[in-house]
């Protein structure tokens, strides 16, 4: 049973409060993604879980063990770094074996584990090479194999795919997903890429300048963003936030914003009752659908519509949000349930 409990972790560097009381309950064998823009404190939180950085206050538990004040090597975690940190002076074999050697594992087990994880990551033919003789993608594989070889309680990854080119990233993402699903290791994975988060995560923690705005399964994050911030960070294009002035029908008490996803509008080319007449500013054909940006009295809309609707910029289109897709937000940007 390897749960991770993060309790009220605070951290500042100088005057800057980087983590403002973060709490997180990560379940056994779950794959959690910390998602947020660059600089929001994801790496700092991950490094505090790893023990590479110390918290100002708060508690980290791995399983039932409080590890907040233990050095990294006593936490039984493994980590994959953004720039891989594959030791240049050791062969691939020695890199993967490093953690086991440190634990003084018997030679037979070292050999077994190295060979197994190398095969899993398809680098078994590279074991004698040095990292200077590997491509970025291969180094990445070595870093993952090194982490898996120690059979850690917890696997931590900090933007492991961000240094790979787009195509390789897609391929590695799929591969990582299947490898990690099979390994059943509790994993915390940091990324700023929402697509990566959506495709890999069992659960996503969306971070907003030192806080976790929402921690939930990807579907919930997408369809019920807990805050305006989450709605506008996730989805491409993001959720529309519309002033209730445009709204007909009942508005829940305290609501100041209507949140609606670009694909959740009823669309018509002719005027209809309660439909908003919007002016199309730009249209982009994206293959599966077309994406419009449009405007009504200064309020900007992003709308995804089917390819069949013929429309040009400058035209007027009539919109109505689908009733069951409407989400309401308070003045402070919190969802009203």
């Amino acid at each position: 049973m390897t749960t991770i409990t993060v309790e009220n972790i605070k951290k500042s560097f100088g005057d800057a409060d980087i983590l403002k009381s973060v709490s997180l309950d990560i379940k056994d064998q779950e794959f959690t993604v910390l998602l947020g823009p660059s600089g929001c404190g994801k790496s700092t939180l991950l490094r505090i879980i790893a023990g590479l950085e110390s918290q100002d206050s708060g508690i980290i538990k791995i399983g039932d063990r409080v590890v907040s004040h233990l050095p990294p090597r006593e936490r039984n975690v493994a980590m994959v770094f953004q720039n891989y940190a594959v030791f240049p002076h050791m062969t691939v074999f020695e890199n993967i074996a490093f953690g086991l050697r440190m634990k003084k594992a018997p030679e037979k087990k070292i050999k077994e584990n190295v060979e197994r994880t190398a095969a899993l990551m398809h680098i078994d033919h590279l074991l004698k090479r040095y990292s200077g003789q590997l491509s970025g993608g291969q180094r990445q594989r070595v870093a993952v194999a090194r982490a898996l070889a120690v059979e850690p309680d917890v696997l931590l990854m900090d933007e492991p795919l961000s240094n790979l080119d787009a195509l390789l990233r897609l391929q590695m993402r799929a591969e990582l997903k299947s490898v990690l699903e099979a390994s059943k290791t509790t994993t915390v994975y940091v990324t700023h890429d929402q697509v990566e988060a959506m495709s890999l995560a069992d659960r996503i923690a969306v971070m907003n300048s030192g806080r976790i705005d929402q921690y939930d399964v990807p579907d919930e994050i997408y369809s019920n963003p807990a805050t305006e911030y989450v709605g506008s960070f996730i989805g491409n294009p993001p959720m529309n936030f519309i002033s209730p002035d445009y709204q007909v029908g009942t508005i829940p008490a305290g609501a100041t914003q209507l949140g609606i996803r670009p694909e959740d509008f009823n669309v018509s080319k002719e005027a209809r009752d309660n439909y908003w007449p919007i002016t199309v500013l730009t249209r982009e054909k994206l293959g599966s659908h077309q994406q419009l940006s449009a405007e009504l009295n200064g309020q900007l809309f992003r709308v995804n519509i089917p390819n069949e609707i013929e429309i040009e910029s400058g035209n007027t289109l009539y919109l109505m949000p689908k009733e069951d897709k409407k989400r309401w937000y308070t003045e402070g940007g919190k969802i009203i349930l």
Partner: protein
């Protein structure tokens, strides 16, 4: 003029200067070393110096001095550079202070240490004033070769450790911190990190530092001359003696060639032992 010639044109004066004032005298030394006084080409100069009663002691002293001084300085420099690299504030100041002796010529260093260790020196006055000795002692005389040797060792360590230090500090600065973090995560304590990460990744800097320092150790002269005089002959001192006291440039050149040969042997040794395999660089 074509732009691609610029670097060559601009570097040309330095190259010419070196050819004129370094390579030419260098070749001249070789010619003299292998030319006997009657103009014959051969090894007579070497026979002369090898059979001289001072040759073996000077070779022994030089090698012994390098063997003691260089490893001690290396360990000190590694320790100091590790500490300096961990400093967040004031590290430049500390580094400047530690490198002050580098700005002092070896002759001046010898004079400083002579002023300390001399019969009327600071050490004697100090020990006398706190009552440990009853009268000033003459440490640096021929009856105490070990004390002379130790004094030279101390002076050399004081004078030239900073050369190793600056090279190692910059070398450590080149090692990305992720390697230490990875090692830490995968179970290495700080001692293991030093041996398995820092030192292996520092090999290129260690190589440079050791070659530089060892070659300088073979040229040790002024400090030894001041503290030991004729009681502690070294290769460079003998070269000086043959050139200026015995007026025998052939023999002096032969000494110079011996020092050069030693330097080459040790350089090759370091290049070999601290070699970084292809593809294993940072």
């Amino acid at each position: 003029m074509n732009k691609k010639y610029y670097p060559y044109v601009l570097i040309a004066p330095s190259v010419l200067f070196l050819l004129l004032f370094f390579v030419y005298p260098f070749l001249e030394v070789f010619v003299q070393a292998f030319t006997s006084s009657d103009g014959q080409v051969g090894f007579s100069n070497f026979e002369n110096i090898f059979t001289d009663y001072n040759f073996l002691p000077s070779l022994k002293n030089t090698l012994l001095l390098a063997l003691v001084v260089v490893p001690v300085q290396l360990c000190m420099a590694i320790g100091m550079s590790l500490m300096i690299s961990k400093m967040k504030k004031g590290r430049d100041t500390v580094l400047y202070i530690l490198t002050i002796p580098l700005g002092v010529s070896d002759l001046a260093a010898g004079i400083i240490w002579l002023a300390i260790l001399d019969q009327n020196g600071f050490l004697n006055s100090f020990l006398f004033s706190i009552g440990i000795i009853d009268q000033p002692e003459s440490w640096l005389n021929y009856q105490n070769p070990i004390i002379i040797f130790a004094a030279v060792v101390v002076a050399e360590i004081w004078r030239a450790t900073a050369i190793l230090l600056v090279i190692l500090v910059s070398g450590i600065g080149l090692i990305p911190k992720e390697y230490y973090e990875a090692a830490e995560i995968f179970g290495a304590n700080s001692w293991v990190r030093l041996w398995k990460v820092t030192l292996p990744l520092l090999r290129p800097s260690l190589q440079t530092a050791l070659i530089l320092r060892t070659l300088l150790a073979f040229e040790v002269f002024a400090v030894v001359m001041l503290l030991g005089g004729s009681n502690m002959p070294v290769l460079m001192g003998e070269t000086f003696n043959w050139a200026f006291n015995y007026q025998d440039t052939g023999a002096a050149s032969a000494y110079a060639v011996v020092i050069l040969a030693l330097s080459i042997v040790f350089t090759l040794f370091y290049l070999r032992v601290l070699r970084v395999p292809k593809g294993a660089r940072i």
